[in-house]
C-alpha cells in the first residue's frame, strides 16, 4: 500500500500553500500533508509536498493537483508498506 510520497510541484501563487495542502488532504487514503516552499517566482511557486497515509490514491492525487492549476514535476520519494 502506498503510504508516503514526496512530490516536487510547480503551482501558481493562488491557491496558497495552506489551501493547496488542505485540498490534497481530502484525497482518499491521505492522512497527513505537509508542504515546504522551495522557490518563489513571478507567477509561480515551486513546493515540496509530502503526503502520508494508508493506501494513497495516487491517480486521484494527480487529478486534484491538476484541478488546482498545478503540475507534478517529479516524484522524489515513494514508500509502500503493508
Amino acid at each position: 500500500m502506498l503510504s508516503r510520497l514526496v512530490l516536487d510541484i510547480l503551482k501558481p501563487h493562488i491557491p496558497d500553500l495552506i489551501d493547496f495542502c488542505r485540498e490534497l488532504s481530502a484525497v482518499n487514503g491521505v492522512k497527513r500533508v505537509s508542504g515546504v516552499v522551495v522557490e518563489v517566482d513571478v507567477e509561480t511557486d515551486t513546493v515540496k509536498i509530502t503526503v502520508e497515509g494508508k493506501g494513497i490514491n495516487f491517480e486521484e492525487l494527480e487529478e486534484r493537483v491538476k484541478a488546482l492549476g498545478a503540475a507534478i514535476h517529479s516524484v522524489d520519494e515513494v514508500v509502500f508498506e503493508e
Binding site: 501558481p12 493562488i14 507567477e43 491538476k66 488546482l68 492549476g69
Partner: protein, 170 residues
C-alpha cells in the same frame, strides 16, 4: 462605483425636466427607468467584456509561466466567475442606486407626493447618496471620511450647476 453613474444620470433627468418647467412624474419615471435599464445592460456587457479580456490575459500569462494548460482547473473557473460577478455587481449597483433616487417620483406618479416634493426629495436623496458613497470610498481607502464624502458631493453639485448653466444659456 457604478452606483455613481446611476445617481448622476437620474439627477440629470430630474433636474433637466424641472428646469424645463416640470414634467409629468410618470414621464420622469419612464425616462428614468429607461435610462437605468439601458445603463444596466451597457454596464453589465461592457464590464463583462473588459473583465473577461483581462482575466483571459491573466490565464494565458499563468499558462505560459506554468508551461501547462489550465483549462478545467479551479483557477480558470474562479477567474471566469470573477468576470461575471463584477459585471453583475457593476450593473446592479447602478440600477439599484438609480431606482432609489427615483422612488419619490414613483410615489408622485401614484399621487402620493406632489411633483415639487418629489423633486426636492429626489434631489436630497441623490446628494445624500453621493455623500454616503464618497464617505464609503474614503473608509475603504482609509482616508478622511468627511473629505471624501464632500468630494463626491461636489461632483453632484458640479453636475447641478452645469445643467443649470446650460439651461440658462439655451
Amino acid at each position: 462605483m457604478n452606483a455613481f453613474d446611476g445617481v448622476i444620470t437620474i439627477l440629470g433627468i430630474i433636474l433637466g425636466s424641472a428646469l424645463l418647467g416640470g414634467a409629468d412624474p410618470r414621464h420622469i419615471v419612464a425616462a428614468g427607468v429607461g435610462a437605468l435599464i439601458a445603463m444596466g445592460i451597457s454596464g453589465a456587457s461592457g464590464t463583462y467584456m473588459a473583465e473577461s479580456a483581462e482575466q483571459e490575459r491573466k490565464i494565458k500569462e499563468l499558462e505560459e509561466a506554468m508551461l501547462i494548460k489550465l483549462e478545467g482547473s479551479v483557477i480558470v473557473d474562479a477567474r471566469r466567475k470573477a468576470a461575471l460577478i463584477s459585471a453583475l455587481v457593476d450593473a446592479g449597483s447602478a440600477v439599484v442606486a438609480g431606482f432609489l433616487v427615483l422612488t419619490p417620483y414613483f410615489a408622485a406618479a401614484f399621487r402620493l407626493l406632489s411633483e415639487q416634493t418629489a423633486f426636492y426629495a429626489s434631489l436630497a436623496m441623490s446628494l445624500g447618496l453621493l455623500f454616503v458613497l464618497g464617505a464609503f470610498l474614503g473608509k475603504v481607502a482609509k482616508n478622511n471620511i468627511v473629505v471624501s464624502g464632500v468630494k463626491a458631493l461636489a461632483i453632484g453639485v458640479a453636475t447641478l450647476l452645469l445643467i443649470t448653466l446650460l439651461n440658462l444659456m439655451f
